[in-house]
């Protein structure tokens, strides 16, 4: 692994914490310094962990659902902030929402991926966020 790809991988792994930063800066910054997220961050294994891929998927989602092309709307749709007590709470909230999406067949096909609506909205959120500038 070259230093550059290693750096890219770390940044990609940290990407999901970027989502947390955008959502609840205080909580997420705290956890970011406590430990590094693993490959199954947010329980979204198999889900594109690379920011670019998430953006591509997110942009396609937003092309199809234009009315959600707003960060605040997406955050609201992802769940009420009250449940986002900390990183663990957020994770658990998103996981159960994703499980519920699959159980209730709220899935979409984006760039071939069969994703839950919650996952797609997370990608959309990523697509709306300012670029991290790494690479």
């Amino acid at each position: 692994m070259t230093p550059q790809t290693k750096r890219r991988q770390i940044l990609a792994d940290l990407f999901w914490f970027g989502v947390l930063v955008m959502s609840r800066p205080g909580d997420a910054w705290g956890t970011l310094h406590r430990r590094r997220p693993d490959a199954t961050a947010l329980g979204l294994a198999g889900f594109p962990r690379h920011e670019e891929s998430a953006c591509v998927i997110g942009r396609e989602y937003l092309r199809n659902v234009r009315e959600e092309a707003d960060r605040d709307i997406l955050l609201n749709l992802l769940g009420h902030p009250a449940v986002w007590v900390d990183e663990g709470g957020l994770r658990s909230h998103l996981r159960s929402q994703i499980r519920r999406d699959f159980a209730e067949e709220r899935v979409v096909r984006l760039h071939g991926w069969i994703l839950s609506v919650t996952e797609s909205r997370l990608c959309a959120l990523t697509a709306l966020a300012p670029p991290t500038g790494h690479g």
């Binding site: 199954t40 329980g43 889900f47 699959f102 991926w113 069969i114």
Partner: protein
């Protein structure tokens, strides 16, 4: 009654053909006098899967049987070239490559995979045009155990739980919408019917096998009710004819149609083709090698059940399919999904390395106290790839058999929609015998593509629902993408389909050509649908069913 002594051209048994059952009755059509007439009770045209299965059933029965085979006991290029034809439709193999024209027929290169048809394959479905057989699966079921023993398979069990083992579990889904489908491999080499069943056929006192005998045209009586004789020729250009009480055409789905179409002396459209159906509804099992990628949530997801492996002395493989309930609900055709695992980079590289293969080869030989062949070559491979061996050993020590998975590639095999525009016709070119060669125009329908994509979407949903991971469909959903990526399985079916109504099928449910009293057809050309299983066992089961019918008729 037998032909021995009366027939010119009777050859002694070739040295490699000796057996304890007495002399084989083999004649060579090339040595028959020109315009010779052979007389028999039952004439089987073709010694492939269907023809041989029928012949074994007729062995030692109180009627005479003549089996005509275009080739010999071994392949030869000139005979094989009779199969050449033109392809007009979807990309397809050269027609002289995808089937074999010698004793044993296409079983001589059969891979041996057996997957049974399911009940839905036989039913008429409103959403699948031209679906349905003239009988249900229960009609064929009694013949299945005999067919499985003939192929042969060691087990008659298809329930995946029977095959699962603690270290090779089935994938666990949250619902029963996705099921595991098991394929069994026929016992190695026994699946070459021309070898395994040769003695039974050629040593039966009532059976004569005529090699190098090409059927060229059926001749019917003026009322077109009975086939009066079959004309044939060898590549030495000597002509002969066969007179029989019953004829059974078992030359494979492409040649069956071709021979009927060529039999156009009295009826220009061809024999049995009064409704223009002969050659139509050609089906193959379309295979799309790469349709999706599955990224498991747990990189160590146990997937070994879905790799080719040995259980209870049988080689099996497994795939996934939607349950019959879902297919009904969603109005889909059947799609079988194959799974190919790719491990994390260094492990995948190690598994692909020559060194690891050589290491396994050496180990296997040494365990059996045998001297490995090409020892120095294998040793050199091991030394060159010692780093890959180290990676594999490290992986095994750390992960046991469940190496971390990078991705799983999904392939798909479709049960195609019967399509009248997918067809075999006669082309302008002629073979060495002056017979018109075939043109194949293989086509699929939009429903085939739609079923593939909807199946993948549902699989993706169920993978997610079960927490197994996420699926990415990698094949474009346009029909053109399906056409561009499709491969085939050497399964030719449907060109003389079975239907109770002569306007919808060439043969009736007893495989008798509509309108004729003594011409039957055997083999997968009578399949009205291609089915979700593989054809060989069904070909044999139907041949046994037809054999029982013929035995009754001959009494």
């Amino acid at each position: 009654m037998r032909f021995t002594g009366r027939l010119p051209g009777h050859r002694p048994v070739p040295p490699n053909f000796a057996s304890e059952g007495g002399p084989a009755l083999l004649i060579d059509a090339r040595t028959l006098p020109n315009n010779h007439l052979l007389q028999t009770d039952v004439c089987i045209i073709g010694a492939g899967a269907a023809g041989i299965a029928l012949a074994t059933e007729f062995a030692s029965r109180p009627f005479r049987v003549l089996v005509l085979e275009s080739g010999a006991l071994e392949p030869d290029a000139e005979t094989q070239s009779l199969y050449r034809g033109t392809n007009l439709g979807l990309p397809y193999f050269p027609l002289e490559v995808c089937r074999l024209r010698y004793f044993g027929g296409t079983t001589n290169h059969w891979g041996g995979t057996c997957i049974p048809f399911d009940a839905m394959d036989f039913e008429k479905h409103q959403w699948i045009p031209n679906s349905g057989w003239p009988f249900l699966k229960s009609t064929v079921d009694p013949f299945y155990p005999r067919a499985l023993a003939f192929v042969p398979l060691r087990h008659v069990e298809w329930d995946p739980h029977y095959w699962a083992e603690p270290d090779k579990p089935l994938l666990s889904f949250a619902s029963r919408r996705v099921t595991t489908v098991v394929g069994q491999q026929a016992v190695w080499r026994s699946s070459r019917f021309g070898i395994t069943h040769r003695d039974t056929v050629t040593h039966a006192p009532n059976i004569t096998v005529c090699l190098h005998a090409n059927a060229t045209q059926f001749e019917a009586d003026p009322t077109l009710k009975r086939v009066t004789r079959l004309h044939g020729a060898s590549l030495s250009q000597n002509r002969f004819a066969v007179k029989a009480r019953l004829f059974i055409l078992a030359a494979g789905a492409i040649e069956n149609a071709r021979l009927l179409l060529l039999s156009n002396t009295r009826y220009p459209a061809g024999l049995g083709n009064q409704n223009g159906l002969v050659g139509r509804f050609f089906m193959e099992h379309p295979i799309i090698p790469s349709v999706a990628l599955f990224k498991p949530s747990n990189p160590q997801l146990p997937m070994r059940f879905y790799h080719v492996h040995t259980v209870k002395r049988s080689l099996i493989n497994a795939g996934l399919s939607l349950s019959q309930e879902v297919r009904r609900e969603e109005r889909l055709t059947s799609v079988n999904i194959g799974l190919e695992t790719f491990y994390d980079g260094p492990y995948e590289r190690a598994f692909q390395s020559q060194g690891l293969r050589s290491f396994h080869h050496l180990l296997k030989r040494l365990r059996r106290a045998q001297v490995p062949d090409e020892f120095s070559k294998h040793l050199s491979n091991v030394i060159s790839d010692v780093d890959d061996l180290a990676v594999a050993a490290y992986g095994r020590a750390r992960f046991g058999d469940n190496y971390p998975i990078d991705r799983i590639k999904l392939s798909a095999t479709l049960d195609p929609v019967p399509n009248p525009d997918s067809r075999v016709t006669l082309g302008p070119q002629r073979d060495q015998l002056g017979q018109r060669r075939v043109q194949l125009d293989w086509r699929l329908t939009p429903l085939d593509n739609q079923s593939l994509h909807r199946t993948l979407e549902i699989m993706g949903l169920e993978f997610g629902r079960a927490g197994l991971g996420r699926l990415q469909i990698t094949i474009d959903d346009r029909v053109t993408a399906l056409a561009a990526n499709v491969q085939a399985a050497y399964h030719h079916m449907g060109t003389t389909r079975m239907h109770d109504d002569p306007k919808q099928g060439v043969v009736d449910k007893n495989c008798l050509v509509h309108g004729l009293q003594n011409l039957f057809i055997a083999g997968s050309s009578v399949f009205p649908t291609a089915g979700s299983g593989t054809p060989t066992v069904m070909i044999v089961a139907l041949a046994f069913r037809l054999a029982d019918h013929v035995k009754r008729e001959m009494q």
